[in-house]
Symmetry: C2
């Protein structure tokens, strides 16, 4: 069942209420008819044209930008007749932020998901509980994750790292998102050797880690690598939705060769700039989750990027909060996770979290395996 | 022949030279090894790791942002071994602006295209002279373009608009980028009726306009609509690279069913924000042209968006300037083009320009055909 209209919410930077109302009006026209009012027929004006439902001062202390002195919240409804018959994502993204991507000071803060057909945004195929079951993790603990690096190593060298991480008990060992199909470590060789390394470690420890190769590629090749990963016995896959195109995420989610999907934010930062684009919690925790991501990697506070701890918590919440019948997915904070900071993060972020830790395991004075063991044991001992 | 390294140029917002140097260093690490220096082997450090070649104060009067008090220009070189063996665009975009999309105050200003293999970025299949030949335009004049709108009209109503524009002598009549495959005017019906409308007008006037349907869709469906457009006799196609994924632009460009490609900036504004992402001239005039766009639509100064006249001129120049053996493509400014402003624009922008004019033709007191005739004649009379 699809509603006739869908409501979208925006945060608008403006000098005063009049300017905010004018911006809301411009959004309504720009994102629907793209014509001056005087040439619209009554039928078009009453059906397709966006409708400004409300513009009010925002309750926020966000820093002001440019010549804007205040923020306003607007709600605008659009006809679902604006969307394609087949519910194409391209046209949906166009409705959300097509031409207004060329505006400044406009940020999408909410989407009325219930107005859309269920098939359009199916949510994660696994979700948190599905991933736990898939990997045989029977307790409600947080998961450990690390990345094979750097680009330039051979498939053998990367597989050796993989083996050492697995010996240390890391739950998920993913490729660095920069590992594609370089001559130094071609995708197929890397896949085969890393899966074998995981198995070798499991034979020794009796406990299996999962390897997630990066399948990000152009067009159908992403799908092909997904199938290769499933056939080879990988535990899941890593992909960067903004590099493959967002519709590929949903295609993988609906593919019969089911593997959990970890989504990486490479190239996506443009859509979550301060006061512009989408709020990070809407983009990652709602849109990407709705498309089928089982894990959302995001740059953790205190790391190399600029998200605040509060912003991270909002992403965490949006990954798990009830939306339609979507399964909750794992927020996967990367960066800023150290031995010292982990206990506090565990307490704040909770057990439905995957902690991605990279550099500091490579730097561990006792080596990768020992560093990994320390990290993994901290999560296991902190079972909730 | 591919070079061993590729040089990228950045504009960095920073408080002082030391901070700028530190940001350049962070970019070099983040976009290559993503590891702290102390765990790199000499081989990796000397091969894959990005190399900061230069950081110097920028010669610019751009407005300052946040707490940055100055701009700096940096040049960093990366190993082409970081790219995939098949020269995948996904991995190339990842190198250009993957993780650093999550930074702030970093803008890519230049790419050393010559370092890349020719097939990777083939440039336009038609270019300006190819488009003129394809459409039988024998003089070196600027071209006229308009858009069929709004979404919500039936295919018959849109075809009627198309007929009236064609009677008035508009060179290229494209779909609004919001026309996808809505129930109100499905793609196949719209294509058939608009091509027929063009033909009907041509039978009357003896001069054929070209219809460019919007083929933007998810995945392979874009390709399918491209083929349908070619079979039906469309003059070219419209597509939004940021909605299809950028690699689709190159696939269309290399497709055997050759039609000129007009690229629309929907959803792309996030990558050309002030002081962030890419300069518009690099993104549109170089990257999109390199991928195969024959026309680059951009928001003209004085219209509904925020590009300055100088920024528009920089895009115009980048569409035409010599880069490798790429054909020059048509800058296609949309918005802000009126009867009164056209002579000045013609003089400034020159004959290798397509002027996209929408709303004001619909508003013309004497009707669409008369408004179109006036517009088209101004371009023809101004032949250079």
């Amino acid at each position: 069942m699809t509603a006739e209209r869908i409501e979208l919410s925006y945060r608008i930077a403006a000098s005063d209420a009049n300017q905010a109302a004018e911006t809301a009006r411009r959004i309504a026209y720009e994102q629907s008819v793209e014509l001056p009012d005087d040439v619209l027929t009554d039928i078009i004006r009453n059906s397709i044209l966006g409708r400004v439902l409300e513009v009010k001062p925002a309750d926020t202390d966000s820093p002001k930008q440019d010549d804007a002195s205040a923020f306003f919240d607007a709600r605008i409804s659009f006809s679902t007749g604006f969307l394609s018959q087949e519910w194409e994502l391209s046209q949906f993204l166009n409705l959300l932020f097509g031409n207004i991507s060329l505006f400044r000071g406009v940020q999408l803060t909410g989407v009325e998901w219930d107005a859309l057909p269920v098939d359009m945004l199916p949510g994660p195929a696994f979700g948190c509980s599905g991933v736990r079951a898939h990997h045989g993790i029977t307790t409600q603990r947080a998961l450990s994750c690390t990345a094979l690096k750097p680009v330039g190593l051979s498939a053998d060298d990367l597989a050796r790292h993989c083996y050492h991480f697995a010996l240390g008990g890391i739950d998920i060992i993913k490729d660095d998102h920069g590992l594609a199909d370089q001559a130094s470590a071609p995708f197929d060789a890397r896949l085969e050797k890393c899966v074998a390394a995981i198995q070798r470690a499991a034979d020794e420890t009796g406990r299996a880690s999962a390897y997630y190769p990066n399948i990000t590629a152009d067009g159908e090749e992403t799908l092909h690598r997904y199938e290769m990963a499933a056939e080879a016995g990988a535990g899941g896959v890593l992909m960067s939705p903004q590099l493959t195109g967002l519709s590929m995420l949903r295609r993988l989610r609906n593919h019969e060769a089911k593997l959990p999907i970890m989504a990486h934010p490479a190239f996506s930062g443009a859509y979550v700039q301060p006061g512009y684009g989408f709020t990070p919690e809407l983009y990652y925790g709602e849109l990407w989750r709705g498309l089928g991501a089982d894990f959302i990697i995001y740059p953790n506070a205190g790391g190399r990027f600029s998200f605040s701890r509060e912003a991270c918590q909002r992403i965490n919440e949006s990954c798990r909060k009830p939306i339609r019948d979507w399964a909750g997915c794992f927020p996967t904070p990367g960066g800023g996770v150290q031995r010292e900071s982990l206990p506090g993060l565990l307490e704040d972020y909770g057990p439905d979290t995957v902690f991605l830790i990279g550099g500091s395991l490579y730097q561990h004075p006792a080596g990768i395996t020992e560093g990994s063991r320390e990290f993994a044991e901290m999560l296991v001992s902190d079972e909730f």
